[in-house]
Amino acid sequence: MTTTQLTPNGQAPGSSPEPDDHAGTRQSALGLGRRQVVEALPAALRKLNPLELVRTPVMLVVEIGAVVTTVLSVGDPSTLGVMVTVWLWLTVLFGTYAEAVAEGRGKAQAASLRALQAETDARRRLKDGSHELVPSTSLRAGDVVLVEAGERIPGDGEVIEGVASVDESAVTGESAPVIRESGGDRSAVTGGTVVLSDRILVRISSDPGSSFVDRMIALVEGSQRQRTPNEIALDVLLGSLTIIFGVVVASLYFVADYSDAHQSVLVLVALLVCLIPTTIGALLSAIGIAGMDRLVRRNVLAMSGRAVEAAGDVDVLLLDKTGTITYGNRRATELLAVGGVEQAALERAALLSSLADETPEGRSIVELVRATTPTLADADAPAGAALVEFSAATRMSGLDAPGLELRKGAASAVQAWVREHGGVVPSDLDAVVGAVSEQGGTPLVVAEREAEGRARVLGVIHLADVVKDGIAERFAELRAMGIRTVMITGDNAVTARVIAERAGVDDVLAEATPEDKLALIRQEQRGGRMVAMCGDGTNDAPALAQADVGVAMNTGTVAAKEAGNMVDLDSDPTKLIEVVEIGKQLLITRGALTTFSVANDVAKYFAILPAMFVPAFPQLDVLNVMRLSSPGSAIVSAVVFNALVIIALIPLALRGVRYRPAAAADLLRRNLLVYGVGGLIAPFVGIKLLDLVVSLLPGL
């Protein structure tokens, strides 16, 4: 499929919304401000409560181990005992701390979201049509409130009467006010936004505490975070590894006894903690919370962690053509003279007829002519010219000046106008018009009539859908990741096909009705594929609900937002791609840290087993490949490494591992090399270095 795209002659298309540079996120993730670091401490300590730790069984085992070694060390203090005990407690603490930091970052997000929830007075309409003043927090779904200019909208809802311009910058960061009106697809309003002009009646759509901002706050704060299906499955794996190692260590107690190599409970607990997957166990929930957080930073509110996970699994992306694949408006790309008319005459007419035309198409014609023909750069409309506005009835627009009438518009309408004014339609017009249509463009025919003379056709303006810069490359990336893109458009099949080819999408649904969309989603799902789409209209709601990942535009209707499982506050349909990437990054981070955690165990055996058994079996000293200085320091070094690696990986857990779109096999190879092989090697180095320091302690 071709990926060449036409750009307007001589004019570079505006910059396309590139994905956020991840650097911004990275910096804030690493640069955990000092405040965040300190503020997370009390929360981390609170989370040591065993009742809270039950949620992460691996860490609960560590805590129980820490309690056991504490008791043992109090009864029989030794350097080894004290060191192991302290570092076991630190291991638990680092785990809870990771979660607390992730939640803290979420809390910062939540605070800004919560600012929207500030209590205001609301004018609730009573049955008799009068209004009463009530606090916004007492509003229930179904209540109708009156909001006037300068007032804050008290809750999420739908405009049922009136039209107003609303400042939504608090939610979207976009400063330009937007129009909200009853009926149609622009009826949804968000609590906390401000009405700038006019007055509207709003029907509140959610009870206090259950608006999606509320739900989002709960999710990013982690307080009500439900574990996602994949997280639970991973917990099962981690749990079974913990049980296996528990049995290994318990049986070792007896086997060691038999072998006259008696092991103290303290050492066995240390071994157990080093073997069970503490790294991933400690960081698992932080990874999940941070994933949600990354979405919020991109102004996407997810209704559940499950949705984020599902995003990673998406096989098919349904993308609306307009605004996602092409710029929202058509642009003039070439001027085609017909009937022997000079190009210059056509250009001049096209320019003059468009000068006063404020539509994006009109502006693009002016830009095109000025860019290609510098001599016309400062041509101006003749004096006394009046704009003839486009109307659905005439399907033409133009200019009436003394002694000159210009028209441009749909081919049939302009031809009719020319004939009406005594002109003849040149024979080659049909062919040119047809050619433009075939290329997926919209032909605008330009005609003029001088001083009551005969009208004549000058030529055709080729208005084309311009495919966004870089979008073809993005689709190629998606294809490499195994994601199929389907373009949804209302255009006819021929036009749609042309644009689809230019943008490099895999498939196209032309002349699409909402029902077609829904049917397509169902069909894909029957084939076992996961579908993501975005939409804003009420008629998109069923499809949004049916899709596995449905991203509703914030500008959309309440129905659409209720149906989707994410809301994009920026209402940028391109963001669907980023949502998928965040989902994948979340899963990769989980897998990478699990692999790293398990791979670490190999080195720990080489540290601890010789330490345990060399006194009884001196020949096992060959296993001490790191040449650790003493059994005591070997055990302490392994325990300390095990704890420190959690802290070291917190930034990675919060930021997510580096993700570049690639085929599964390539991703696997790279991540396996970094986290699998790296996980094998890193602890050998780390434990050896720690041993050099730890061995200086007296009594080890």
Binding site: Y258, S259, G528, F613, L620, A663, L668
Partner: protein
């Protein structure tokens, strides 16, 4: 003469023979487990037994059928062993003690074939033929059936948890695969010099005038299914070291071939059943790599002959047959522990410490290289699911294997499977070396004594059945303990595998694309082998380090 050349030669012959036989048998097995047609003799059997061979069983029904069938087998063997003197064809053998009968019944039904008794002096012909030999066939068949059910579960979608019909699978496995296979194998064995008669012991006068009783019997026919069905329980106590059972290096090599052929062929069949031969190829590749490494290391350990006795003697020949030598003994040891056969042509107790440790490690792998008939495949597939779960996340999708999502339920079943055997082994060893009755059975003390006990519990829990020697296991303590380990080590995993097969069969199959983790590439094979080694290594290295490792390094 250099021993390296024959050592490599026997492996080359083996590889060629397997390369020819495995695809052929694989196609046969795949056909057996997918064909709709019944043979006339099978239909007759179904009519007599009033079974509906076309009923597609839910996994629970399938599992219950397996359990019920096996329990009947346990009771039957138990009864025959106990009542032996009162039954015909006992050739004068006494009744088994209760614990011994229990151990033997479980042992043969679970395809373990651990033998605490010596066959020629304890088991009469009725027990051998209608108890043990029958189980040699059907216990091998059960393993294949369960593997077929899992393969079918993966191949189906939205089948409501239905995984096939156990009775049809069992009948077909016996009628179409094991009986003809064993028949041909027995003929070959007879041609190679294995004894086959129905006479009892023959008393002869030896050269120096003494008299000796030479036990005969239907040895070749027993031997054929003993090896082909990865059973390992032979008619003679000396097992495949006995010259009547395994007379020549050629019959020895053929015996190794028989052990390996069905486990590999089932992996081939798996690829055919799931309609992607490459998936079977990966399983075979990993099995081959693990087995090949183990053969190489074991042969090296034996031929290098570290240790006091071998160095004094010039070769590690103690406990080995001079007919076979070190290399063939090492090959046999690796194959018999890599499969769940457990037949031996040398005393594993007398392997070098490293060699004995390797044999143990083979079993600890969970009998996946290439494992027992069928059980090797399903063991490997369970590990493949674990591998997919860990590695799958690293490609940015929730894990799936052959288009089946691995969610919480699937993971619980796999986790249970992965947990079951190690827990049995480690709990078993803890009990064995703590209890006075357990310690009483050990011949040696120190690391070698630990190895004896560890070998026994590992062999029982993994349904291998080979014995280290040195352990006096015919005591109520050991018979009971090992019986329990064999029983749970066999049927706990089987039920979990069938439950997983049911879940897979009920789930839909997601189409594969460039975004899904490819499970047919070399990288996945490396990963699967790595996961198997790391998981097993992490589980058993501590206890191994106090047994064979400590001994080998001393």
């Amino acid at each position: 003469m250099s021993q390296t050349l024959p050592a490599l030669g026997q492996i080359a012959v083996l590889v060629v023979a397997l390369a020819v036989a495995v695809p052929f048998l694989g196609r046969l097995l795949a056909h057996v487990y997918t064909s709709e047609r019944h043979w006339r003799v099978e239909s007759a059997a179904y009519r007599v037994l009033r079974l509906d061979p076309d009923a597609d069983q839910h996994w629970r029904v399938y599992a219950l059928s397996v359990l019920a069938f096996s329990m009947v087998g346990v009771f039957a063997v138990y009864a025959i062993a106990r009542l032996q003197p009162h039954l015909p064809a006992s050739i004068g053998m006494a009744s088994f003690p209760a614990d011994g009968a229990w151990n033997t019944a479980v042992s043969f039904v679970t395809n373990t074939n651990w033998q605490w008794y010596s066959g020629e002096s304890a088991a009469g012909n009725l027990l051998q033929a209608s108890g043990l030999a029958v189980q040699n066939f059907v216990s091998a068949a059960v393993g294949l059936c369960v593997a077929a059910a899992l393969a079918r579960g993966l191949a189906r979608q939205r089948a409501g948890g239905r995984v096939g019909n156990f009775w049809a699978d069992l009948t077909r496995t016996c009628v179409r695969v094991l009986l003809p296979g064993a028949f041909v194998a027995a003929l070959v064995l007879v041609a190679l010099g294995v004894v086959q008669n129905l006479a009892g012991a023959r008393t002869i006068t030896t050269l120096d005038g003494g008299s000796q009783s030479l036990p005969g019997g239907p040895i070749a026919s027993q031997e054929a299914i003993k090896q082909l069905g990865t059973n390992g329980g032979g008619p003679y106590n000396a097992n495949s070291a006995h010259p009547f059972e395994n007379p020549t290096p050629l019959s020895d090599l053929f015996a190794v071939f028989l052990m390996l052929v069905l486990p590999f062929a089932m992996a081939w069949a798996f690829g055919l059943i799931v309609r992607d031969r490459r998936q079977g190829g990966v399983v075979i590749a990993v099995m081959t790599a693990l087995l090949g490494t183990s053969i190489g290391l074991l042969t090296w350990a034996e031929m290098a002959g570290h240790g006091t006795a071998p160095q004094l003697a010039g070769a590690a020949m103690e406990g080995k047959e001079v007919r076979f030598g070190e290399a063939a003994s090492a090959l046999f040891a690796a194959a018999t522990t890599g499969t769940s056969t457990g037949a031996v042509n040398a005393t594993h107790d007398s392997l070098t410490a490293a060699g004995g440790g390797l044999a143990m490690f083979n079993m600890m792998l969970g009998e996946i290289a290439p494992g027992g008939t069928g059980s090797g495949l399903y063991g490997m597939l369970m590990l493949a699911v674990v591998t997919v779960f860990i590695a799958g996340l690293m490609v940015g999708r929730t894990p799936e294997y052959l288009g089946k999502k691995i969610g919480q339920r699937e993971m619980m079943l796999v986790a249970g499977y992965v947990l079951a055997t190690p827990v049995l082994v480690l709990a078993g060893i803890a009990v064995a070396i703590t209890a006075k009755d357990g310690l009483a059975g050990l011949q040696e003390s120190g690391p070698h004594g630990l190895s004896e006990a560890l070998y026994a519990v590992t062999s029982a829990s993994n349904n291998n059945g080979s014995a280290f020697g040195g352990l006096t296991s015919g005591t109520p303590f050991w018979n009971t303990l090992l019986g329990l380990l064999m029983l749970f080590g066999r049927f706990l995993p089987i039920v979990l595998v069938l439950a997983l097969a049911g879940r897979f069969a009920a789930a839909r199959t997601l189409p594969a694309g460039p975004g899904t983790l490819p499970t047919h590439r070399p990288l996945f094979a490396v990963l699967l082998g790595g996961v198997a080694l790391v998981l097993v290594g992490l589980t058993y290295v501590p206890v191994l380090s106090l047994g064979p490792i400590a001994e080998a390094l001393s």
